[in-house]
């Protein structure tokens, strides 16, 4: 009963007016991405999302995946057909290197398609999403032969991919992992062990599944310094590229989960499976980080995407459902009651979602553009700066967008009242699906620790210093733009708070590392509000320039931005206050008191 329509106009506004991707025609693939081309791609993607992926979202949740006795897994009805359309449309290779069959278009454009897919059907979108992450890892760390062997079929969508990190006794702390790799005479390894929580670990969509598996080579050092990464294909690949025998990897069971029922979350058993080293021995974690960082951005996108689709359905209900009268007098006196969108608290929930989603989209695409700059720019300083930003923003995007995506899916559900709690209305599925995004690819607390414990410190704090400077420049460049003033003031204020928090951490973390940990989540949310204020200031600037067109779209954008300043940005102050209270009370109780 839910619907989804890709917010193409909002996407175009960000791509063309805010980020002005046409200015980057020096980057490979960008010259092809004219406004017309972008429009055509977004429109086609939107059709696929609305007409193919979304209609099987609720049925996929109800039906779930089924594991058969032989270990094979069947995805819900319609998933294979939808996957074939996705594959045939060439969506998997949209931004991939043309050398391996991709179309080489900007990553920032691929990200907008990935938003659509995640909004329309999050469980479905994970299958190609994980495959793309695996392909990128092979692209970054594989030998030429490995790339030639795996990438064309993966980019064509014929084969999919997975990442295998977690074991029953180790999730976050990968140093504890036990899966063993025994070297063979032919240079391959025998992999044995059990991996859990493997998304898309086994399914019927692709002809082969290329598992990337972390394991410890016999005799390797203990801890994270002894972990290597292996390619373990489900089916061996013959010399001629055809598929051969089954490898020793199988799905032992699938998990019964809160949501994303249509994605198979597998226990994977490796029983002397043949694996091929990817990248260097004992440097597996570093290689896996390629996949994890990309996956983290993908998960951030899931948070934002679920907020968008749940918003659309909450808003549709709010315009349709008649209940009560506006506080200021009947809005539709000839009807038995007014639509509930007249009620301020219903508006509050919808405007919260809107201000978040639109700001998050601009911030997310801005970050994706930096991935393009990092990968494609010929200027080393630009590449370094882009890499700094991406490293800094990845944990913030992942944790903040998924925390808020879940909160906003809950808001949209609330708009429907009792119906929101009933399965067939589809709103509770958005909440259940969104919930996982706060957990997987590094629980959000781990993201916060990555931010304060690693990203802030890296290169003497170069990343955040450059970012703060960019904000100062934006503010000073736009002084005198009177209409932009409230946005510049909000941005300056958020920057002041974030700076103060950063200084507090610098001053207080060294004498007690727990002060950094205790403030990490508040710091992350504070930094996210700064980034959203930055995104909204950029959007407001672009909207002010276009406002003369007389299109209400731009005036609405400015109103939504004003709402962000009034109703979301004030949280910055409380995050700062909490952070500055330090670790003492938080850490004081002995463990046995819990």
């Amino acid at each position: 009963m839910t619907t989804y329509e890709a917010p193409i106009k909002d996407m175009q506004f960000v791509l063309n007016d805010v980020l002005q991707v046409s200015k980057y025609s020096n980057l490979s693939g960008f010259a092809d991405a004219s406004e017309d081309m972008i429009a055509a791609i977004l429109e086609e993607g939107g059709k696929l999302a609305s007409n193919v992926l979304h209609p099987i979202n609720q049925s996929g949740d109800s039906e779930g995946c089924v594991r058969h006795e032989d270990g094979s897994v069947t995805t819900p009805k319609g998933f294979k057909e939808a996957y074939n359309l996705y594959k045939e449309g060439g969506w998997q290779g949209l931004s991939f290197d043309p050398e391996y069959g991709g179309q080489g278009l900007p990553y920032v454009l691929a990200v907008s398609i990935s938003e659509m897919a995640s909004a329309a059907n999050m469980a479905f979108a994970m299958y190609p999403g994980l495959a793309r992450g695996a392909a990128d890892t092979i692209y970054a760390h594989g030998t030429d032969e490995q790339k030639q062997t795996y990438l064309p079929s993966m980019i064509a969508g014929d084969w999919s991919g997975t990442m295998n990190l977690t074991e029953p006794h180790c999730g976050t702390d990968l140093g504890l992992l036990r899966t063993k790799a025994t070297p063979q005479d032919d240079g391959s390894y025998k992999i044995s062990g059990t991996k859990i929580f493997i998304s898309a670990g086994e399914h019927d969509l692709a002809d082969n599944i290329i598992h990337l598996v972390l394991a410890r080579i016999e005799g390797a050092p203990e801890g994270v310094k002894g972990i290597s990464l292996f390619i373990v294909p489900k089916f061996f690949i013959n010399e001629d590229g055809s598929l051969g025998d089954r490898n020793g990897v199988s799905c032992g069971s699938i998990e019964e989960k809160m949501g994303i029922h249509a994605n198979s979350t597998c226990v994977m058993n490796y029983d002397e499976a043949t694996g091929y080293l990817l990248g260097e021995e004992n440097k597996g974690l570093r290689a896996m980080f390629t996949m994890m960082n990309e996956a983290r951005l993908g998960v951030a996108m899931q948070g934002m995407a679920i907020s968008e689709v749940s918003y659309q359905n909450g808003a549709a209900y709010a315009k349709d459902r008649l209940q009560g009268r506006a506080l200021t007098g009947p809005a539709e006196p000839d009807k038995p009651a007014d639509p509930i969108i007249v009620h301020p608290d219903v508006r509050r929930m919808l405007m919260d979602q809107r201000a978040f989603t639109e700001g998050a989209r601009a911030w997310m695409y801005w970050s994706a553009l930096h991935a393009d700059l990092h990968n494609k720019s010929e200027d080393e300083a630009t590449r370094e700066r882009a890499d700094d930003y991406l490293g800094l923003m990845t944990p913030i995007l992942k944790a903040y967008l998924t925390d808020k995506g879940y909160a906003h899916a809950t808001n949209a559900q609330q708009v429907l009242g009792g119906h929101g709690y009933i399965h067939e209305w589809g709103m509770e599925q958005f909440v259940r699906d969104a919930r996982i995004a706060m957990i997987y690819e590094g629980a959000n607390g781990i993201q916060a620790l990555d931010l304060v414990g690693r990203k802030l410190m890296k290169d003497g704090g170069r990343a955040w210093q450059t970012y703060f400077k960019e904000i100062d420049e934006f503010i000073s460049d736009n002084q005198g733009n009177e209409d932009l003033k409230p946005f510049l003031e909000g941005l300056a204020d958020a920057k002041k708070d974030t700076e103060e928090a950063t200084q507090w951490l610098a001053a207080n973390a060294m004498n007690n590392f727990n002060n950094a940990g205790a403030g990490s989540m508040d710091y992350l949310h504070l930094f996210a509000l700064l980034s959203l204020a930055h995104a909204w200031a950029q959007m407001a600037k672009a909207a002010l320039e276009k406002q003369g067109d007389g299109d209400a779209f731009y005036a609405n954008k400015l109103t939504t931005g004003k709402y962000f300043l009034e109703r979301m940005l004030p949280d910055a102050k409380s995050h700062l206050a909490k952070l500055k209270s330090g670790a003492d009370a938080m850490m004081a109780l002995p463990a046995e008191a819990f």
Copy 2:
């Protein structure tokens, strides 16, 4: 796999040391509630909750209720046996009037038992909870004959009860309801119509179900002024008290919901069912409010109770799960890793829950004590004051405790990482169950509107003025207690913010009612933080007095209170800032822009 142990020591602390219920021995039933008696009752209740109700919580969720072709409904395995134990223990009548078979004990004590039941098995606790609400409504509004007919069997637990308000086209806006009541010659009515979302509408636990049904008598005025309340028993009651024929009421279907699967949420069809007027004609809504207000406190309790049980399970996992090392150096160097409770961000989630749950318990019991004062005091001024408090606090407790109960169940789930998302670990059930509490008995937005639109204004603001004065008195009475100073300062600061918000509403709501609606939820959360600050100040005072005992319990209480001041109370400022931004940006967009 989850467990629950009633936090008896915390409950005793609130009842005996904070509220000092022994001081109220002038109220009927309180003299029986000695510390020893309280201890014995809490202990027995705790055993029932841990050993009978909780073990069928997860299985009840998995199994759900089943409706058969004849309209009968079977509850999950073990529910009937558990219900019989509950009934035989006399729990249903704990605080009910002895004239009808109750034990007449304080309501505040019954509330602690209700906390245990909701924490142990929320879906189960709803069956007796709704029955108690129906009994209270008959007690308040029934004729002597009606009371004699229904109450003894309801209080004994032999019969249960329901409330029937919602119809497909009307939930909040009861003025729209269509269920018809046609007067009969014998003084009864024929009731026809469809009610939806009827919790415990049909089941196999009790011999009879007494439905309280809102309907419109033929020819009654339109809107809420034409609504009457009727008693519609599932089975007729013969002269001798035995059960007779089936009445014309049946369960048409049960809803597939996000959670509380073990409670049957029914579509109830009334097909010329015989009903008996309860209270006055066309004054049905007022009578139903007796039930709704009590139900709202019960729902508030559900929020707090789920926070407690999810906290217990999150904390147990955090002490058990080994992953990573403390930031300050290995805490348990001889183990492969430290338990995750050493990590500040894990602590943060657990301490947030603790500071909330312990504060909420004191606040909730304090409110329940006011229900006792209202019902039992012989002093009219005391009764009025207690009624004022209850009226003011009911919407705040309902909305705040359920918003936060859900958020904290989500926090506890997060502590478990990936396992939190897996059904068998039981944490995701707490989240799904807690979610309904924000919606039913008046969605939380309606509570906020009730607060700013009705409760603040009532009797010229007498309720909040008296409450603010009580806080001032508490602060001035305790000046000079140096150890209490931070709590008094936090309380004074929260009161100042709440006062400022109240003044802002007074000044800005009259020229634009939307300003009140737009700020209603922030106002409610701000007021809740004030009440929690009040509760924590009272607890801190009691803990300081007992601290000399050397029991770490009191020191831990003070630390948790300090954590509340540092990490929760700062939100007051952002609620105030948001409220003061008014309705303009929130209400500016035309409906078609959504």
